[in-house]
Amino acid sequence: MKILVCISNVPDTTAKISFSGDNTQFNTTGVQYILNPYDEIALARAIELTENGKGTVTVIHVGDINSEPTIRKALAIGADDAVRVNSAPRDAYFVSSQIAHYAKEKGFDLILTGRESIDYNGSQIAAMLGELLNIPSISIVKKIDIDGSKANVVREIEGGKEILNVSLPFVASCAEGVAEPKIPNMRGIMSARTKTLDVIEAVSVDELVKFTSYSVPAPRGSVTMLLDNEVEKLVNLLHTEAKVI
């Protein structure tokens, strides 16, 4: 089985988010970049599904050379090889078009993404890829079991879950529950340096959306502190002041 895992390079979860240049640019000064946490889960499941010679895992990333440490990390965790599309990831349609272009004739049985990237939070890539490749896509997946050419997939819905049957190939965006993230071991880190990382150039894609500016949420007003026996007062304030109950 050949699996493709799409990985993104995102600001560390503790990063302070600020913008510069008239709020048009994300301020990357002092920001650590990491492998998107959901992509780690997707990668972990891909590795489980191909263990013991049952297949290969390729990771693909659309981004510039600065993302290479993240790609190497994915290789250290256990991906077999990697591809980088050498271009800034302009928007979700651009990124999915690049991945679809690469994947088209490669015969992947399964394409995994994270549920969303923690910077742009689009959750768009998996379904766009499915559409571009004309194969099924399942978003916000909590479980993937494969049996031959068929799969049993659980996806999240409001207040529950849906269990689906689907034939390979398909695309799934992975959420918590699909697998536990894997930590690279020493052997993985050593071998990651010699694994193949192909760099390919981007194809041109129509621009349909443009990120024009950013803002941060307005700070909250000050907190009203109550004593631990003032629960009636709290209930009263929630009713009369906050008007939420």
Binding site: N121, E158, E162
Partner: protein
Amino acid sequence: MSVLVYVENAGGKFKKSTFEVVSYAAAVSKQLNTDLIAISIGNVEQSDLSNIGNYGAKKILNVSNDQLKTFVNQAYASIIAEAAKKESASVVILSNSFTGKGLSPRVAVKLGAGLVDAAVELPKIENNVFTVKRTAFSGKAFATVELTSAIKVIALNPNSYQINESNDVAVVENFAPELNDSDFGTMVSEIVRASDKIALPDAELVVSAGRGMKGPENWAMIEELAKTLGAATACSKPISDAGWRPHEEHVGQTGIAVSPNLYIAIGISGAIQHLAGVSSSKTIVVINKDPEAPFFKVADYGIVGDAFDVVPKLIDAVKAYKAHS
């Protein structure tokens, strides 16, 4: 020209997020001076269909067919795209629900349209420039996105637009677009719903608890407080990691982002990753025994105290309040 809105149902019934998205779409159609058309797929009763008019749709296209009773991503996307073409829609609007997340990107690609998802406000349309504000960086920021394509797709975040109701009704029109076998790549074999509980992403009130609760055996009081308030329950990441609570309750940067009217955090420290998923809640109450807990910095109301003492008292106070109101 028109605006098209997809009205999602769960088991044949429309949901709150559906009424939000129709109200939002009605406002967009006003901005553009055009009619709002809705499209429903699945088996929904006629009266529920025409009631979509209450929220501003003039007409509702009804695609009812047993093969489409449960969600089929590709088929639904094809139908919505066909409806958009038939109605010459310039804007297509969906909810950014779990289902919407799988659907809106496919609809956008089919229509060659730009997509803004996680939208939180009405578009701004000035001098032919069409921009929409969306959340970004896991709720730590907002991004303004310009849609430059002729057809535009917007996926609206749940709980971010006020429902507007009137007495108008919509004309129901049956619609039966042609589908291909390849549209049926996925088949739902089972739907499991925790029916007695309020779904977290839809919830207006949320009671959430963290490691301060010490162990899963102490969740009875959290459940009781939630039940008394009519709230959904949630938890911090270590709680679902430890298996004390199911994954679908985990909120935060790597869990679900919620924006309820009220978020009560009990025994949660307020780590930045947790706050990312809850900071857009309208009102935040924090109960924590540590006065230095970072959560107090983003709270509206705070109680420094032991949860094991405060929560039972709070349950009684809410019960007393409910008895009187």
